[in-house]
């Protein structure tokens, strides 16, 4: 696989990877804190659990937004080169996957924030 293809595949998966990172960070941190009985711990006046959820969500959301922008850009470039069907398909799918990942990261963050952390 050429370096260009690898880059394209990574871009297609970027949103899903970001989502996985958000998932791991939120559940890892929350369940560790709950397991140790530190669920109510605060740092600089913010609860660690909500702060983790919010920052993990914002960071992965921003990363995915960048991926969406990149996918749109590469799709525009591909559109200019009439012969590259595979490239066009991949960048199209990348826009869809990354766009939906934005939604899912948001939904996931909202749910984690609303429900009690240790229930």
């Amino acid at each position: 696989m050429s370096g260009r293809r690898t880059g394209q595949v990574l871009l297609m998966l970027a949103g899903l990877i970001a989502w996985a990172v958000q998932f791991t960070v939120i559940y890892g941190v929350t369940s560790t804190l709950c397991g140790r009985g530190w669920a109510d711990a605060t740092l600089f006046g913010f609860g660690i659990v909500p702060a983790t959820i919010v920052s993990a969500t914002l960071i992965t959301f921003a990363a995915t937004a960048v991926a969406v922008i990149w996918s749109i850009k590469s799709h525009r470039q591909n559109a200019k080169r009439p012969a590259a069907t595979t490239d066009g398909f991949m960048s199209h799918v990348a826009i869809l996957i990354n766009g939906l990942s934005l939604v899912v990261i948001l939904w996931h963050g909202i749910s984690a924030l609303i429900l009690p952390a240790c229930a």
């Binding site: 939604v103 909202i110 749910s111 609303i114 429900l115």
Partner: protein, 307 residues
């Protein structure tokens, strides 16, 4: 009759509004999608072309569901978070499901002593109630539709349900898990009283039974003793201390008998004693069909006098 569509407590009304939102919203969306479908099939091609446009798909097929679900998700989760939350200062009540009736215990609370009753849960309006449930024999399920979700009663396990009655009234509860022949005849009442009336009720229930003064009723008490009723039933203040069946110390004060089967009066009491196996075949109390009419009246009269 019980109804989940007539909420009388916070949880029940939250669930009610969630159900309404989902049902009405679902119907509206279903109707509009169906009409668009019919339009797509029957409208002349030049008028329906917009349905297949990229724009329609992006707004109708992507943006609309995402926005709707983004609103419903937090709404549903908030309902879930706020339902069945244990509250400080709640009144503890224990309910045990038995074939085919409900043992209801009020544990000691400060200087108020513990007592036990059956098929009737009396609660004060406005005070949070924390019900702990379990079962003595098979799995039952405790459900008061006006106050919220149902909860399983499992032998050897304690489950909890929290609710607050917001207005006085009589609400029906049912067993919601098939538990044997008479499962369908296993109901109870929840009676929400003003706090002062509740305290009076509680004080009365905690007292031992009154000794009957009328000779006929004293005869009833004697029949109760001689008939061996006390091996299954307790009447506090007498030698009857059976724990198998419902506590009858204040049976006369209850609204119904037989787990919600009959209004409570001397006639139904006599009918119950003589005909349990006919009224609720398979129930864990034998029929006392051989009592004379006179004896039955005395016995039923005695029970009715236990207020």
């Amino acid at each position: 009759m019980q109804s989940a569509l007539d909420p009388a407590g916070g949880d029940a009304s939250r669930i009610y509004w969630l159900t309404m939102t989902m049902t009405v919203g679902g119907i509206l969306i279903f109707l509009s999608v169906t009409s668009l479908l019919l339009y797509a099939i029957f409208a002349p091609p030049e008028r329906r072309a917009w349905l297949g446009s990229r724009r329609t798909i992006i707004y109708g097929g992507l943006a609309f569901p995402i926005i709707t679900l983004s609103a419903l998700l937090p709404y549903g989760l908030i309902v879930m978070r706020d339902s069945d939350v244990p509250k400080a200062g709640a009144l503890p009540i224990e309910v045990i499901g038995e074939q085919y009736w409900w043992r209801v215990r009020y544990p000691a609370d400060g200087d108020r002593v513990a007592f036990s009753t059956a098929n009737e849960i009396i609660v004060p309006v406005g005070r949070p109630i924390a019900v702990s449930v379990t079962a003595a024999d098979v799995i039952h399920s405790f459900w008061i539709p006006n106050f919220g979700g149902k909860i399983d009663m499992i032998p050897g396990r304690i489950n909890r349900l929290n609710f607050t009655a917001e207005r006085p009234g009589i609400y029906r509860g049912v067993c919601a898990e098939f538990c044997g022949d008479q499962h369908a005849r296993m109901a109870f009442d929840v009676i929400a009283l003003e706090p002062a009336a509740f305290e009076t009720w509680r004080t009365e229930q905690a007292k031992p039974a009154q000794d009957p003064e009328v000779p006929l009723l004293a005869r009833g008490r004697e029949l109760f003793r001689a008939g061996g009723c006390g091996s299954c039933h307790a009447v506090r203040g007498t030698e009857a201390n059976g724990q198998f069946g419902p506590d009858l110390t204040h049976v006369g004060s209850r609204r119904t008998i037989g787990a919600g089967q009959f209004p409570n009066n001397i006639g139904t009491l006599a009918g119950w004693i003589a005909n349990t196996q006919h009224i609720k075949p398979g129930v864990r109390m034998p029929s006392y069909g051989s009592l004379t009419g006179e004896d039955l009246r005395a016995l039923a009269g005695y029970l009715e006098s236990l207020r």
